[in-house]
């Protein structure tokens, strides 16, 4: 967000304005002339995709709020009113509901990309922690948003999640009643969740600005994990290079998103949420939205109430300490043969926890989730610190330009056998 600017105001008015508020120069330096490593791959377009999704969610959400009413006896009907009567209401609602899932798909890819290429390591610790904060805010926003249609899953999801706080010794019960504004989840809860659901996305937007500021201050990491040595040789200007690549990534993501909106809009949702909230009857099998499932599995794997809650929150908190838990000096998994294996094992464990979170807490599923929960923490607390000490990384390229050159040399050799192959 600072430096790098080559912006020269054209014309008298532009110069007059720029000397009073240098905002055009700021935008120019952060979105036009900002140098991006030339070896970034498509996994790096997810930052732009996430920014787009935040915009999509805020826009569609503001419009939905114009037709929605947060009042327990009618909220379910108001959502159906949007689906049936409001012009394009069904589209806006399906955009918003599926948008939440798309947002999480994108953020998980973004996080795992950061894990793979070691994007959390010095000097990007603050950048990473800001990302963890955004992730936490996203979870809070998504959870409260899911309560608003006031279906069975909304109601019981809210009940279960707020009851997590009752695990706190002594004051737990009081805290939960204060969260509810009553003796159970009810209309006051719905109203405060609506207010916060409207507020939090703007807080996310604020932290996103800090996240991008930190990113542009330290510069982007890249698939080879070596710092930019020469702006001229290692980087390209953000516009048009990264811009056009990001837009292409966004449109491909929109294709994926549209498939869900138009063809399988209820795939990510739960049928029980089309039943109005009923405080007298819990659905037979309640599960949170898919993006919470790994943490839900961790919660249920511990047979103690407080212990389960602590384990679940620790599973997120441990991410914030990652920059110091990973002791390796090498960033990218490209040059860490052992870490690469453990990365994929971890990815499978995370998906496995997600699957177990969706299954009933009984029999083999409980044992499996205990094993995977243990592995989740072992990965961060034991494997990563030790790996840095024992792993022998492959030799790092001298610079990004060298890495690119080496890869292209390889392609030329391979090209002899398959002439149509391109880098």
């Amino acid at each position: 967000m600072e430096g790098h600017s080559t912006y020269q105001p054209q014309g008298k008015i532009a110069r007059w304005f720029e000397s009073r508020l240098p905002i055009v120069g700021l935008l120019h330096s952060s979105a036009v002339s900002y140098p991006t490593p030339k070896n970034l791959n498509y996994w790096y377009t997810f930052g732009a995709i996430l920014t787009m999704m935040l915009g999509v969610q805020i826009l569609s959400g503001v419009v939905l709020a114009m037709h929605y009413t947060a009042f327990a006896p009618i909220s379910f009907a108001r959502v159906e009113h949007i689906m049936r009567d409001v012009s394009f209401g069904w589209l806006l609602r399906y955009i918003h509901a599926n948008g939440a899932s798309m947002f999480f798909i994108a953020v998980y890819i973004h996080i795992f990309r950061g894990l793979y290429y070691g994007s959390y390591k010095a000097p990007r610790e603050v950048l990473w922690i800001l990302g963890v904060i955004i992730y936490l805010l996203m979870m809070a926003t998504a959870f409260m948003g899911y309560v608003l249609p006031w279906g069975q899953m909304s109601y019981w999801g809210a009940t279960v999640i707020t009851n997590l706080f009752s695990a706190i010794p002594v004051v737990g019960t009081v805290i939960v009643e204060w969260l509810w504004g009553g003796y159970s989840v009810g209309d006051p809860t719905l109203n405060r969740f609506f207010a916060l659901h409207y507020l939090l996305p703007f807080m996310i937007a604020g932290v996103v600005i800090l996240h991008i500021w930190a990113l542009h201050h330290v510069g982007q990491n890249n698939p080879d994990g070596v710092e930019v040595k020469s702006v001229a040789k290692d980087t390209v200007p953000f516009t048009p290079y990264a811009t056009v690549k990001d837009i292409f990534g966004m449109v491909v993501f929109l294709l994926f998103f549209s498939y869900f909106i138009f063809y399988i809009p209820n795939y990510m949702g739960h049928p029980d949420n089309y039943i109005p909230a009923n405080p007298l009857s819990t659905p037979a099998h309640i599960v949170p939205e898919w993006y919470f499932l790994p943490f839900y599995a961790i919660l249920r794997s511990i047979p103690d109430k407080l212990g389960g809650v602590l384990a679940m929150f620790s599973a997120i908190a441990v991410l914030a300490f990652l920059p110091w838990l990973d002791t390796s000096k090498v960033r990218s998994a490209r040059y860490r043969p052992l870490y690469r294996q453990f990365f994929w094992i971890f990815a499978v464990v995370a998906v496995g926890l997600g699957y177990l979170g969706s299954q009933p807490a009984e029999g083999g599923f409980v044992i499996a989730s205990r094993i995977l929960t243990a592995y989740y923490f072992i990965h961060f607390l034991i494997i990563l610190p030790l790996l840095g000490l024992f792993e022998r990384p492959k030799p790092l390229p001298a610079s990004i330009a060298d890495a690119v050159l080496a890869r292209h040399g390889a392609t030329v050799v391979a090209g002899a056998a398959a002439p149509q192959t391109k880098g």
Partner: protein, 174 residues
């Protein structure tokens, strides 16, 4: 994509223009649902008729009903109110219109108007002002016994809603 001078590309290049144009169409298409949702929704559009029973309205009485969220004045006019309204030469009116045009033939004593001042939307008070009709408390417009504006700032007569007599004592508005 505005600055494409770098790396020797041509601004007039067909590919860039085509991509930009298709992108612009896409943005316009995406905006439409967000604008369209502002219009009155299907449940509002369906609530467009109201039935009014005229039999309890006394001679000389003005009764207010609700139609599409707006007040409707139904005025059971005395013979003198009708005479007064029909005696006014059209050239004295701000918005010239005969009383006959504002009522249903055969039901001349019944005046049905939307009770919203044509100036800035306040509800005028009945049986007030100097013209045997309405007076708007907001900015002083006055209407006569035919609901026609006689003193500004209102520019137009009180509007007549679409309505029909289904019997001598019953109308359907809308």
């Amino acid at each position: 994509m505005a600055h494409t001078e770098t790396s020797g590309t041509n601004r007039r290049d067909f590919l860039y223009i085509a991509t930009g144009a298709v992108g612009a169409v896409g943005v316009a298409g995406m905006i439409w649902p967000f604008v369209s949702q502002l219009q009155p929704d299907a449940s509002v559009l369906a609530l467009s008729t109201t039935e009014v029973d005229l039999s309890p309205i006394q001679e000389g009485q003005i009764v207010t009903f609700m139609w599409r969220g707006k007040p409707i004045f139904v005025f059971n006019r005395l013979a003198k109110d009708v005479e007064l309204a029909r005696a006014v030469p059209l050239n004295q009116l701000i918005d010239p219109q005969t009383d006959q045009d504002r009522v249903k033939a055969g039901h001349d004593k019944w005046l049905v108007v939307i009770g919203i001042c044509t100036h800035l939307g306040c509800v005028p008070l009945g049986h007030q002002g100097n013209y045997d009709g309405w007076f708007c408390p907001c900015h002083g417009s006055q209407y006569d016994s035919s609901g026609r504006v006689r003193v500004g700032p209102a520019p137009l007569n009180l509007a007549v809603p679409p309505y029909n007599f289904v019997s001598d004592s019953k109308i359907v508005i809308g």
